[in-house]
Symmetry: C2
DNA sequence: TAATTATTCAATGGATTGATTGATTAAAGA
DNA sequence: TCTTTAATCAATCAATCCATTGAATAATTA
């Protein structure tokens, strides 16, 4: 193996990595990816969910496909896009943690925010299970009702993020609240945690979301 | 918190993520980042290491800086670039694993490669320590001699990747070999593992590199 | 102070990207 | 078969990106 070959190998690896990173380097594609990660969706639905035009959504989805981040399957006259196999969520999770770290670093200079520090430190699945067993926490699912009813973590109560502020009275003031939504890169529950804290409720964020919980083979409740 | 606010928060988060991903979306910037991750380097050195022109390297480095992936510090008439704090390696590691996963998936269709599967499964620090204690493995450092001499894992022998093929006789034929270099995103040791296997030596890849080992506070040897 | 070295800035041009529009293909139903 | 619906393709245009060039700035040395 000559050092020439090594350089070439380095270059091709970096080129591959760069290609993936580039594909992730568009807010619209990230939004599409996030929705696709919830389950197979048609182009039309994805366009609607993201507010993009059909043609534009289609092109972005094809871009994601070229990078092997999503897969397609035909269903009658529709084409369903679903997330590809592989550690895609890990990449998005790592990216999110990096972004949050950077944001925290900036904010810790600007503001003296006390909540900032531990907002990043989510609660782990293991700790959650332990705390649930001794019922010292309330588990809060902030996804839309329909998603909640399709399946949720056992014992969770559902208050969609968009109505959280008006339904704070449903939450116990003494217990700590652990919020979760779709995945580690879901922004809904971090804003939920902010809202809760601003209202004097002790709140933390589950470091995994519903899809991961399901993937880990843990028990799930359905219905309302 | 209205659902309008959520959408805006989503958008800004995704925009931030996309910006980081975009910055990583260039092979040249990834190369620069990899070198910078080894320690503080001047623009000139980095230009030389990557084969870029000074002005070009400088601009890419500034791009990396704008995304808070590197930091600068003046040293006399030179400007030293170093890696920023935060889980940057985690992102690169996750990206690399994703790329390798994709590559493996393609290759497992094309070729019937037996080695492909477990090449990805590196050996963990814990397992390595155990195996070293019972001296059932040989630890191989494939970085350039100078880096090796600055510090390496205890008990490792050094054969730089570019001369590995000519020095195979230095390696025991009966022991398993564990190769490592700089970090999980270092391509050197994966090519090293390939070379070794092609020559009938049982080889695996350490799932962390020297920087991580050092960061974990484990013992280090210096000198030749 | 002048000359040197290291880096950045500013301007240029070619290549690529992202969104829009309208045309085209594919499958299903009337 | 003709129409409808879902998705993709092709063409366009503005915006951005990347590398190059040469000039400008900053710190050091003669």
């Amino acid at each position: 193996m000559s050092s020439m070959d090594i350089e070439r190998a380095q270059l091709t690896l970096f080129t591959e990595l760069a290609e993936i990173a580039r594909t992730l380097g568009s807010p619209h594609r990230l939004m599409l990816l996030q929705h696709v990660a919830q389950g197979a969706r048609s182009v039309e639905r994805l366009a609607e969910l993201t507010g993009l035009s059909m043609a534009n959504a289609s092109q972005h989805l094809q871009h994601l496909k070229r990078s092997n981040l999503v897969a397609t399957e035909r269903d009658g006259k529709r084409v369903l896009y679903s997330i590809a196999s592989g550690p895609i969520n890990e990449v998005l999770g790592a990216l999110t943690r990096l972004a949050e770290h950077q944001r925290a670093e900036i904010q810790s200079v600007i503001s003296d925010s006390l909540t900032q520090r531990d907002r990043l430190e989510g609660i782990s699945r293991e700790e959650l299970l332990e705390r649930l067993r001794e019922s010292s926490v309330t588990l809060l699912d902030v996804r839309p009702r329909e998603e909640f009813e399709m399946g949720h973590l056992p014992g969770a109560i559902n208050i969609p993020a968009e109505v959280l502020e008006e339904h704070l009275s449903m939450l116990p003031q003494d217990h700590e609240v652990v919020a979760y939504c779709r995945g580690p890169h879901c922004v809904l529950s971090t804003s939920a945690v902010d809202t809760l804290r601003q209202n004097g409720i002790k709140a933390r964020l589950l470091d995994t979301g519903f899809p991961e919980w399901k993937a880990a083979g843990l028990t799930i409740e359905t219905g309302a």
